[in-house]
């Protein structure tokens, strides 16, 4: 992330200097900082709602039940946390939200990250599980990409939903490929907590 961030900033500034549009760069950077704050404020309500609901599910035992049901499948992807019901339940809720395209995917995903961090910290087991969750979430396997379909419908498509099959297939392959890379790279000697 260090290298990525530096490359973004330095290459941006160099290109702006060469192209002579430093003024555009200035306003664009300030706008970026503003957008981050706006996004956080926009997300705050959704987060309160979903983490509140998650807490209810947690204390009533629904999360543990979800963990028990999903363990046979998700245990294969998360071998290091499969016996912790709180973590498995949160992971399971995140992945279900992802697949259904619910607004709860990020709030529940961050909740799952917090559960992993709390129990395992930045150990090998903890980081391995966190990266697995991030790779699955970033690949965005979803049976119904509502954003694109809404856009297509708004622009007068006769069949806006036709893209759902192809995007689901692409999301599935993306998830598998990401997990494969994670599996290979987590065996390298440099990956130590």
């Amino acid at each position: 992330m260090n290298a990525v961030w530096l490359v973004l900033i330095i290459s941006g500034c160099v290109v702006a200097l060469l192209a002579g549009n430093v003024d555009v760069l200035m306003s664009s950077v300030l706008e970026g900082a503003y957008d981050a704050v706006e996004l956080v404020i926009g997300l705050a309500g959704i987060f309160c709602l979903w983490v509140g609901i998650e807490r209810l599910a947690n204390e009533s035992g629904l999360i543990d039940a979800l963990a028990r049901v999903s363990k046979p499948v998700l245990g294969l992807l998360f071998p290091y946390v499969k016996d912790e019901d709180k973590i498995m339940g949160a992971i399971s809720a995140t992945i279900i939200s992802n697949i259904l395209g619910l607004s709860s995917q990020t709030p529940l995903g961050l909740k799952a990250m917090a559960e992993i961090k709390q129990i395992h910290g930045e150990t090998y087991k903890g980081l391995h599980s966190m990266i697995t969750l991030v790779v699955i979430s970033a690949a965005g396997f979803c049976i119904f990409p509502s954003g694109v379909i809404a856009l297509r419908a708004a622009l007068g498509s006769r069949n806006p939903g036709i893209v759902a099959g192809p995007t689901a297939a692409a999301g599935f392959i993306s998830t598998c490929a990401g997990l494969l890379v994670h599996r290979v790279l987590s065996k390298r000697p440099g990956f130590k907590p």
């Binding site: 973004l8 956080v40 705050a44 987060f47 509140g52 961050l110 856009l151 498509s157 990401g178 790279l185």
Partner: protein
């Protein structure tokens, strides 16, 4: 199709009614518990702000300077032999970095060429194929205060690339039948 389209819509109220009702039956003080959770949710969101500012500033620097357009152009030459139409290349380059940015590019293609043309179809598939990897890595690790993300980003980006290629291959099969 209709059922799938509305699945999320039906699941939402079921969760919204079902979870608190179940908790109430189990004797959980529902209102207090919800508020406690909401408080935690707010804390999580606030924790992500410094990380989001950092990544947004980096990305807008890269985009606002025109560097992103340059990369799109050169990536275009590299990907040309695969037969990917040059119009959609900005989507492939922008999608992992900025969700709103690539949605803008997709919207423009759909407007100019029409959503039901082969180009409009490809743009839609690529846009829907993955999520915004930079954003997900930033917000997930940021919320728990972890700065060293190890190989999370490369794994996500390679995953994205495979997703795009899958989308492209399926599009070719749909449009050309081979």
């Amino acid at each position: 199709m209709f059922f799938l389209a509305n699945l999320g819509m039906y699941v939402f109220p079921i969760i919204l009614i079902g979870v608190p009702l179940y908790a109430w039956v189990k004797g959980v003080p529902v209102y207090e518990t919800f508020v406690k959770g909401a408080e935690e949710g707010l804390q999580v969101v606030i924790n992500t702000l410094p990380y989001l500012v950092a990544i947004f500033v980096g990305i807008s620097c890269f985009r606002g300077s025109g560097a992103l357009d340059l990369v799109s152009r050169y990536m275009g030459r590299l990907l040309k032999p695969l037969g990917i139409p040059s119009e959609v290349l900005p989507i492939i380059v922008t999608r992992p970095i900025s969700g709103s940015g690539s949605l803008g590019v997709t919207g423009e293609i759909l407007r100019v060429h029409g959503p039901d043309t082969s180009l409009g179809l490809l743009a839609s598939i690529l846009q829907g194929a993955t999520d915004t990897s930079f954003y997900v890595v930033t917000i997930y690790f940021g919320s728990v205060g972890i700065r060293k993300t190890k190989h999370a980003l490369p794994a996500c980006l390679i995953g994205d690339l495979c997703g795009f290629l899958t989308g492209f291959i399926i599009w070719r099969l749909m449009v050309y039948g081979r």
